[in-house]
């Protein structure tokens, strides 16, 4: 029963990783941009929530109403002012600039909020659990995280598949030049994709901050977990990302149960194993994905 419990915890943790991974995967899909500061943006959002909660006494979950739009605006601005100028100049400039963002955000957070670890307190839900019988119980909060992840992925799929902006995302992804010829403002599309990516990662950051403590330097690990979930699931597959997150989450909780120091390492090793056995990931669409 203890093992079943561990696996269930891992599956729910996977929901959180899928939240981190979705934003990363989205901007890679639309403009082949790999954002090395992705994890740091989530931690920035969590610190913004700390400020919002401190200033207004809002519940951290409600602070999303403020923080997510703020992060979206930041994403649109950064894309418009900086990142869009680098696309089309090869991979290197964008990668190095987002790495620069990562270092700037981390040290900015260190300077502003000190090295103390923080946690967001939503007032009880984080410790409440739902008994499933047989000694098995799941926390309400991990369950909520998983449901939100599934809902967000479903919403994103509808957005990409059914709306005009989604069509613009897909067209820009397939061929930015032709999309522009057809009257799509690709610069705006890039900005919106980045805005959406950072809004989703804000949700992920705040859920992370409620689930566990975080510091200014918690970002890079989130980037790596997000990246691993994307690769395990297969590039370009939305639901594959969820499965990738779940596999990573289960690997981590099972690894941690075997030996406390092995949680994160076990996740990395499962990722490497999938990479060696199925380089395209488990659910990669048959469409060729250029990198």
């Amino acid at each position: 029963m203890a093992w079943l419990d561990t696996v269930v915890q891992g599956v729910l943790l996977g929901g959180l990783y899928a939240l981190f991974a979705t934003g990363l995967s989205l901007i890679f899909g639309v403009m082949r941009l790999v954002n090395l500061a992705h994890g740091d943006f989530s931690i920035l959002a969590a610190f913004l929530a700390v400020v919002a909660v401190g200033a207004s006494g809002l519940n951290p979950l409600l602070s999303l109403v403020v923080v997510a739009p703020l992060m979206a605006v930041l994403g649109y601005g950064l894309q418009w002012l900086v990142l869009d100028r680098l696309l089309g100049r090869g991979v290197l400039p964008a990668v190095l600039v987002t790495f620069g963002f990562s270092v700037i955000i981390q040290n900015g957070l260190l300077e502003t909020f000190s090295a103390d670890s923080r946690r967001l307190n939503p007032g009880g839900i984080e410790t409440a659990s739902l008994p499933l019988g047989g000694g098995l119980a799941v926390g309400w909060f991990p369950l909520l995280t998983f449901v939100v992840a599934v809902a967000l992925l479903g919403g994103l799929q509808l957005l990409i598949g059914r709306t005009a902006i989604g069509r613009a995302f897909r067209a820009t992804s397939d061929d930015g030049g032709t999309a522009a010829l057809m009257g799509i403002d690709t610069r705006r599309v890039h900005g919106l994709a980045m805005a959406l990516s950072l809004a989703i990662v804000a949700v992920a950051g705040i859920f992370l901050g409620i689930r566990t403590t975080f510091t200014f330097s918690s970002g890079p690990d989130r980037l790596l977990f997000a990246f691993e979930a994307v690769i395990i699931g297969g590039l370009g597959s939305l639901w594959g990302t969820l499965v990738g997150g779940v596999i990573l989450g289960v690997a981590q909780t099972v690894g941690a149960k075997l030996s406390p120091g092995w949680g994160v390492l076990a996740g990395h090793l499962v990722f490497l194993a999938v990479l060696l056995l199925r380089p395209a990931g488990l659910f990669a669409p048959s469409r060729r994905v250029d990198t």
Binding site: V91, L96, V97, L275
Partner: protein, 330 residues
Amino acid sequence: MKPLEIQRTTTASRVGAALAALLMAALVALPWVGDAGMMRMAVEFTALLVLAQMWNLLAGYAGLISIGQQAYVGLGGYALIVLADDLGVNPFVAVPLAGLVAAAFALPTATVVFRFRGGYFAVGTWAVAEVYRLLAANTDALGRGTGRTLKAVFPLARETRELGTYALALGVGLAALAAVYVYLRSRQGLGLMAVRDSEPASESLGVDVFRTKLLVYVMVAFGTGTTGALIYLNLLRISPDAAFSINWTAYTIFIVVIGGLGTLEGPIVGTVVFFLLRETLADHGAWYMILLGALAVVAMLRFPQGLWGLVAERWDIRFFPVQRRVRITK
């Protein structure tokens, strides 16, 4: 047909050679005229310069944007301690051997990370470096999370150790610079630059793209691992979090981007700027990193060729010419 000549040296490169010889003489004299603090700093300077040259070779020439070179700094550092303390190898001899150990790890690592391209190569190398950090932190023989201390140098007098480390650093720095220069001017180096400019085109002209990149990746791991060992011969105390810290790669990237990517002079200029800034802003740890990050972002936007690139473009100076120029002689 007009007579043509392939030019491979420049006036600047002859002046540069003379300047380099003078600088070398000054560096060799340093132990007699400078104090231990200056020598320690010279070792640090050399270490960062070699790390920068190595990363520049990867990213600036081979197009392999690695964010995981700290893996080889850490592997080199740990290899030094295992070789010197556990296997009884002379610690100074162990430094280049540690580089070989790092290179040996680079081969299987390459089979994993070479599956990624472009931006995902960057994240993939970072993930693999984390694997090495966590493995070191979970291995009893390596002192787990607390790490280990290099004990093999304890019997040596402090002056002997400092002088030996300094001489070794000088040798490593010079060898690295010479190796990169000779390699880039060689047939292999020409192939590498062709790969950088266009993979399909160079492949069609008979360059083996995969082998060329793999060779560079392993050579760079050797250089980086040797430097890692040198760093920990200087510091004596190693821990997984410090040895496999992303900061090694962050410093390196900022040095190369600010100095000038894809030139041999760029990393030298970058390392000098890095040290000048560090000495001025020593009391403002976080702000120093913010400034470096911002400088790198601005450099990428405004002068992607780096500081040295601005100079080289303006006055057409190349101290280390690796290109071939066709001149019409008549």
